[in-house]
Amino acid sequence: MHKQKGMTIIAICVFLFLFLPLCLIVVTSFGTAAAIQFPIKGFTLDWYAKALQSETFMSSFKLSLIIGGLATLLALLIGVPAAYALARYSVKGKNLIKSFFLSPTVIPGIVVGYSLFQFIVIQLGLPVFQGLLMGHFLISLPYIIRVVGSSMEQMDYSIEEVAWTLGCTRLRAFIQIVLPNVSSGIFAAFMLAFVNSFNNVPVSMFLSGPGVTMLPTSLLSYMEYNYDPTVSAISVLLMLLTIALMFLIEKTLGLASIA
């Protein structure tokens, strides 16, 4: 009984430690002072207005959305068939391939960003937009393969075989039988990869170019010269967006199954 009480207290402390800074940001975003301070003196929504009217923030927000969306879609196109092959067939060196695909999630982001910079910008000399797209595609792919793969492994493959016996070609059975039964996994993978791409700093930082910046990068560079609650306001908006997406994932698949 005592032990349980102790655990509960520790859990609450950890939760507060994680949660309080976020609360602080939410509160400071409503402050009237020109610099971020706590506690706030008055209440205003001006910083939200400023954030939403800022050309830099809005264009980088749009770019983040476009890059994140496109890169994740591309990763789905490649990742879903790859996950299917890995789940369904005994490919030679299957475990090696699996851990290789997952490596971007274990290698530090800064290393991934730097190596992508070396490869995409220095070696290939791709334009900034295409470079960003490729970088974000690469960091999205592991999430797709992992999440879609796990829901494919849980599927009973005899439903695919029975579709063949009923006269279905392999491609058609994949589209009509396999995909609908892993759709929640695909949706969750899309959301997770998108959020990850949207929030990614190192890859965006290394691959950004003049006039083409992603939202996290433009937030960082804004903070170098300004320390006003606009950043807080944007952070709050981003939090809300992420919470909404996570809520959707939780609704469709349950976060527990991807952790």
């Binding site: 005899s158 439903i159 016996t165 009923l166 006269g167 279905c168």
Partner: protein
């Protein structure tokens, strides 16, 4: 004229060990043939070769005169029922059943009519709008059967379709399957490891072991006259002792006693005699045909008792009636009826 003809089928998963060792079997049109054997004997593999889900390394598969060995699974037009039923979870029962018909590009009115008929035949009226999750095990099983049958397949393949049902439902469903199979006159291959289930509904049974067919015959013949020791053991023969041939009908055991049999196909010098525990008779007076023994263990089976009896032929299992009960160490006299004593080739 055989309808299904498998010839020298060889299957190996790793290229070294053969799952099927040059297996051959013939089936007539309209027959229900069972593949019976312990797990790992190759019965499901055989079914999957017929379905086209496994490509054999060698051998051929003919349906009437057509060589289907290389025809892909989706062009074979066979109905298959899996052990897990494999219903499409995202489709309703009616959509599940209609799936194969839609692929055949039939008109919607025709599909609706056929689906409705098949649901009625399988006792699934009014369930068309439900999803597989909302059905009981027995109902799901019937949906799987309806979905396989509605495409009017040339062959019906059943892979342990009853093993996920409880005992009572299993008996009801196997009669159901037999009824539908006879009504539609469809040639059926039934894979099972349950002896009773298989004997009760099959026209013919193939007993499989280790990738080969040990015996292929009607259930009655297999039950009464097993050909090999494996088959005998698998279908409930318990008592084995070695004998030497005297003539066609007489065999001499190690203790010098001569037994008469009406069930010998053996022509070797030495052979093995076997008899079921329930076929041995317990008698009260000794003569030259009786075997003397002593009760070692008695167990209660419900309607009868089973005794382990020490004799000169070795330890024998014998079933005795509840009318006369023997105790441990009681002397006992046994007789092997000639028509029940089976002689197996060594």
């Amino acid at each position: 004229m055989s309808f299904v003809n498998l010839k020298d089928i060889r299957v190996s998963y790793d290229g070294k060990q053969n799952i099927l060792k040059d297996l051959s079997i013939d089936m007539k049109k309209g027959e229900l043939v069972s593949l019976l054997g312990p797990s790992g004997c190759g019965k499901t593999t055989t079914l999957r070769v017929i379905a086209g889900l496994i490509k054999p390394q060698a051998g051929q598969f003919l349906l009437e005169t057509q060589n289907l060995t290389k025809v892909p699974v989706h062009k074979r037009n066979f109905g298959m029922v899996f052990q897990s039923y494999a219903l499409f979870p995202h489709l309703t029962i009616a959509e599940n059943v209609a799936f194969g018909l839609k692929l055949r590009k039939e008109k919607k009115a025709v599909i609706d009519e056929k689906v409705k008929n098949m649901l009625a035949i399988c006792g699934l009226e009014n369930l068309g709008e439900r999803y597989p999750k909302q059905l009981s095990g027995g109902q799901r099983q019937r949906v799987a059967l309806a979905r396989a049958l509605v495409i009017e397949p040339e062959l019906l393949l059943l892979d342990e379709p009853l093993s996920n049902l409880d005992a009572k439902l299993r008996v009801a469903m196997r009669i159901e399957i037999k009824r539908i199979q006879q009504r539609l006159g469809i040639t059926t291959v039934f894979v099972t490891h349950d002896q009773e289930e298989c004997f009760s509904i099959s026209d013919k049974v193939a007993i499989m072991n280790n990738g080969i067919i040990e015996q292929y015959d009607t259930p009655e013949v297999i039950y009464r006259r097993p050909k090999t020791k494996f088959v005998a053991q698998f279908i409930g023969f318990e008592n084995f002792f070695s004998v030497i041939r005297v003539d066609e009908k007489h065999y001499k055991a190690d203790n010098g006693q001569v037994f008469t049999t009406a069930a010998a196909d053996s022509d070797g010098e030495t052979a093995t005699a076997t008899i079921r525990p329930e076929d041995i008779e317990i008698v009260s007076s000794a003569n030259e045909d009786t075997v003397a023994g002593r009760v070692v263990v008695r167990t209660f089976l419900g309607k009868s008792y089973q005794y382990e009896i020490a004799t000169e032929l070795g330890t024998l299992l014998v079933n005795g009636s509840a009318e006369q009960i023997y105790a441990t160490n009681d002397p006992i006299l046994l007789v092997f009826p000639a028509e029940k004593l089976v002689i197996l080739d060594n």
